[in-house]
């Protein structure tokens, strides 16, 4: 078996380079997104919790499998405990940019960062 470029044609590069450029441009665009201001948690498609991102807080959200534990601190919001089997959500790290997402698919919990565009949210804290 020979090196990859031995097999590759000019056409391959013409296909691969635009894909890589698009991916890197997308990554740069996402990384440049402004920091968000609110944490919004939805469970099974319904918003069940919302709080400002700049106030440290620790709370539980009830999902079909049990409580998912979340922490808001200076790094953003992250999932610190979950009853799901594979714990993928724990390895997602913190979210703080507007539009960032944390998701626990088995427990149907979705954490999103919003920035209500200068307009103040009509409430400080929402918990259902």
């Amino acid at each position: 078996m020979k090196a990859p470029w031995h097999y590759m044609t000019v056409g391959d590069w013409l296909v691969i380079l635009p894909l890589i450029c698009a991916a890197l441009a997308g990554v740069a665009w996402v990384a440049a997104a402004p920091g968000g201001t609110r944490v919004v948690v939805t469970s099974g498609g319904e918003t069940c919790f919302s709080a400002p991102l700049d106030q440290p807080r620790s709370f539980d959200i009830e999902g079909p499998l049990g409580p998912t534990h979340l922490v808001i601190d200076e790094q953003g919001v992250r999932i610190t405990g979950s009853p799901c089997p594979r714990k993928i959500c724990l390895s997602m790290g913190p979210a703080r940019h507007s539009g960032d997402l944390l998701a626990c698919v088995p427990n149907r919990i979705l954490v999103r960062i919003d920035s209500p565009g200068g307009k103040e949210a009509p409430y400080d804290l929402l918990s259902r």
């Binding site: 097999y7 044609t9 391959d12 296909v15 691969i16 991916a23 997308g26 993928i88 997402l101 979705l110």
Partner: protein, 191 residues
């Protein structure tokens, strides 16, 4: 062997069935092995099973590629206990978009592209199909598209790697008597 007494078309069909069954078996094993390997982020995998889809596409045709990819998703999920779970629908959607993209590109430009280019586009299609399914079924919010660029950059490199490995496999397989018929001789990915 006493092949000479058998109808050539019948022999070709039997060979095709045997090889596709082998390809599916290898693809399912690679899929399972890859899932069991530890990775930094659990849903990032190389997609080594795509090597077998590419081999079926290059040595046979689009229908063979569909057989290998769909059988791999179905049997792989059954083996790992994920059949009809959310992860299964994501994998199925990714595979359908990836296989369609690879077959269309193969038909359009097989002579100008090697398996590396086809595989890279297939990998991008896989990422697109997965995020699309996740958007529709799991996370019904447009913010899911934010993970797409990162996903895409990883997956294109994974696609190049699997395409390269497929080139190596095709090189070996073409030396096998079963693939040395004139029908296959001009379908090489190599220039």
């Amino acid at each position: 062997m006493t092949c000479s007494a058998v109808d050539a078309r019948q022999l070709a069909r039997a060979r095709r069935q045997v090889f596709l069954a082998l390809f599916v078996a290898v693809a399912v094993s690679m899929h399972a092995l890859e899932t069991l390997l530890p990775t930094p982020v659990p849903w990032l995998r190389l997609g080594l099973a795509n090597i077998m889809t590419l081999a079926a596409l290059y040595l046979y045709d689009g229908r063979a590629a569909w057989t290998v990819s769909l059988a791999r998703v179905g049997m792989g999920s059954l083996l790992l206990g994920r059949l009809f779970s959310p992860g299964f629908w994501l994998a199925l959607s990714g595979t359908i978009v990836a296989t369609s993209a690879m077959i269309v590109l193969y038909r359009l430009a097989a002579r100008r592209l090697s398996p590396v280019g086809i595989s890279a586009v297939g990998a991008a299609g896989h990422a697109l199909g997965q995020v699309l399914a996740a958007r529709l079924l799991v996370i019904q919010h447009p913010a899911i598209w934010k993970i797409f660029p990162l996903f895409l950059s990883f997956t294109v490199f994974a696609g190049i790697l699997t395409g390269w490995l497929a080139c190596g496999l095709l090189e070996q397989l073409r030396q096998h008597p079963a693939f040395q018929s004139p029908a296959n001789a001009d379908r090489c990915g190599e220039q």
